[in-house]
């Protein structure tokens, strides 16, 4: 692996650790929020996958005008729905960015 400017790379490159849920406690209140967080993380994953696909297809130039409208519209609606659900569950974007914790080296 070859890198340049590791500090800036770490800031700029978002590594996808965030789709992995942490272990949660058995406390029912926490469990409920934990489930909500998991479900929202999954939907966020789907949204990001969709967005990536849509952008890739736009790059390739193989989307009809109608498809562009439908995809864009669906992405907007997904984002809007995500926003509402985050509010309902009192979760922020940061809450959904679950990290794996301190980085451990490979043995």
């Amino acid at each position: 692996m070859i890198t340049n400017d590791e500090a800036r790379l770490r800031e700029a490159l978002t590594f996808t650790e965030s789709t992995i849920p942490e272990r949660i406690s058995a406390d029912p209140e926490v469990v409920e929020n934990g489930l909500a967080r998991l479900v929202l993380s999954i939907i966020e994953l789907v949204r990001r996958l969709l967005e990536k696909q849509a952008l890739r297809r736009m790059d390739a130039g193989n989307l009809s005008e109608e498809e562009i409208e439908r995809l864009g519209s669906a992405l907007m609606k997904l984002e809007e729905k995500m926003g509402e659900m985050k509010q309902v569950f009192g979760l922020t974007d940061e809450d959904l960015n679950l990290s794996l914790g301190p980085v451990k080296t490979l043995d």
């Binding site: 692996m1 890198t3 590791e6 790379l9 770490r10 590594f15 996808t16 650790e17 789709t19 992995i20 849920p21 272990r23 949660i24 058995a26 934990g34 489930l35 998991l38 479900v39 999954i42 939907i43 789907v46 996958l49 969709l50 696909q53 439908r70 995809l71 669906a74 609606k77 997904l78 729905k81 995500m82 659900m85 794996l100 980085v103 451990k104 080296t105 490979l106």
Partner: protein
């Protein structure tokens, strides 16, 4: 660049490739939380109709 930071970055990159790449096969991805497996049925619709996702999002 020190050795530790290079190793960290290498690990992050490895995990990024593991978690964010690869073909998505339609069907279930088994996601776990604590000791409980939650089957997520939704990944097949990434490959299919976008509208279905919006309808699902509206129902929840």
């Amino acid at each position: 660049m020190n050795d530790q930071s290079a190793e960290d970055l290498s690990l992050l990159e490895t995990l990024d490739h593991l978690l964010d790449r690869g073909v998505v096969i339609s069907g279930e991805a088994v996601i776990s939380i604590g000791d409980v497996d939650l089957l997520y049925l939704g990944l097949n619709i990434v490959l299919a109709n976008v509208d279905a996702i919006v309808r699902t999002a509206r129902r929840t």
